[in-house]
Symmetry: C2
Subunit: 307 residues, 2 copies
């Protein structure tokens, strides 16, 4: 029998170091600002460390959040698992970064562990990329790296979790994806095929993949030139990010409803955003081209091959 | 027996003229821009006229929307009234205006009529004001005018509908009201106390009160000076408006879920918005003073009297 008590301490400690390592790598790559830290406690049990970067050389605003919380399981969880009463434990790392230069993409990552007092547990998470301007080589790089992480653990992970991301990071009311997707997964538990170690190893690799992937994109694109047009388009794309997070994102909605620390939950909001009435980019413009890529089901790894 | 067929044509025609009259009054008061009109049809029945103003002298972005739509009642309505099947008809005018000068408040108004094929009908609506900076004299003026409209029809309207607005225009996750409230009402139907004419007369008066109230505030405050600090605070207050509309507003949520015309639904979004991490205005600053007024239950009409 697994010692859940030890396991959860081990997992939350690992997530806490992941936060520290990612912040360090991002500070190095940014070269202009460092993270400020707010430590908070949750009245009902547990707490977290919110690390925020603002007005860096490359990163305009972003957060790398760690939390480990516990207490009575909220009603939604009880209903979901048909339980009358249970305690929960949840720990994870969440990241959203909004870069200054519109040529650098917005990125999001989350890895999390959830446990109920009846012994059920599962892992979840995802990484997705939201370029203001889609560069095919970046999209291919991003999906190639994610596929490598997935393939190491199971051949079915990448196709399954890539589709899951397409379906999840989708603005139904605009019929467009938030960006070029990535991977998304939830409720990974143990079964005949997978042990805890299989699932946890995969989630650790997702967490470890984040910094190398994003610092590569920061370095590659942050010196590209841009002007007023590109800043305006960035602000419009950021407004779609706001719409996704406030209307659809499960973590955000759950946080707002259950009264989490509001400044941590909404650190995902961009520093600025604009809404123009009925804005339509000019035909064949880079903006129109980007829109044409905001669709479900694009096979980024096959996109080079002419069909 | 009332001829519902005639009544709904009459009501929607009246709302359509209200839209035209309000747009005319706003153009006169703005003096710099005029409304552009988009006429749209709804595949399932009906349509609307979306009128949008952008980059005026006073109004930076705003919409005055008319619609009259019909078809199969959506599931939410059927469940609400325990019906298996019904058709609906809905018509109304909706307004949100975002001024350029932070000293001029954001305003919202809605008046609407709803009818089901089983003969049930009701009226609803509201007006509320969201100042970026609360001026007490404006708040008193605004609530005094609304009370006049209410008192003409029933002594209980103002206290009841003022409280309803406080409760409705409330950001639970920030524990703050959207602005200084106003009035909000729904499901006004006929009963022993009120005839259709009583309810409709009241709703007409709410609609007619809008232009004189807001053009007064436009004229009074649009030449007040402001600088970078005030523009930044305006952008922060606008972000709260975004949060309210995407997270709580029933009309917006309903529109996004049922697939209405997205550019009309989201015309309520501000032209720009900013999210700063953990922004706290300086003690005793005008910004801090404004925050202190974003509370439920303030009796604006008694606020002069020292207690």
């Amino acid at each position: 029998m697994v010692n859940l008590q030890e396991r959860k301490i081990f997992i939350s400690n690992w997530f806490e170091s992941l936060q520290a390592n990612i912040c360090h790598a991002l500070e190095q790559a940014d070269g202009g600002a460092s993270f400020q830290e707010d430590i908070w406690q949750r009245a009902e049990g547990g707490g977290g460390k919110t690390r925020v970067i603002q007005n860096g050389n490359i990163l305009e605003k972003g957060g790398v959040l760690f939390s480990a919380v516990f207490g009575k399981a909220p009603q939604q969880i009880l209903s979901r698992f048909q339980l009358e009463n249970a305690n929960f434990f949840a720990t994870g790392v969440s990241i959203v970064l909004h870069p200054k230069n519109p040529m650098v993409p917005i990125i999001h990552m989350n890895v999390r562990y959830f446990e109920l007092s009846d012994g059920q547990w599962w892992l979840g998470g995802g990484i997705d990329l939201t370029p203001h301007y889609v560069f095919l080589e970046d999209a291919i790089f991003f999906h190639t790296e994610l596929k490598k992480v997935c393939d190491k653990w199971h051949k079915e992970y990448y196709p399954k979790f890539k589709k899951w991301a397409d379906d999840y990071f989708f603005l139904k009311h605009r019929n467009e994806t938030r960006g070029i997707g990535g991977i998304f997964f939830d409720e990974l538990s143990e079964n005949e095929t997978f042990t805890f170690q299989d699932r946890w190893g995969f989630v650790q690799d997702v967490g470890l993949a984040f910094a190398p992937i994003y610092t590569t994109l920061m370095q590659k694109n942050s010196s590209l030139p841009y002007g007023e047009t590109e800043k305006m388009w960035q602000a419009i794309r950021r407004s779609r990010y706001v719409e996704f997070n406030l209307v659809y994102d499960i973590g955000t909605k759950f946080g707002l409803e259950t009264g989490g620390r509001i400044e941590s939950i909404l650190i995902s909001m961009p520093p600025t955003a604009q809404w123009h009435y009925n804005y339509q980019p000019a035909k064949d413009s880079p903006e129109a081209q980007t829109l044409s890529y905001l669709k479900k089901g694009i096979d980024w790894l096959a996109i080079h091959s002419p069909k």
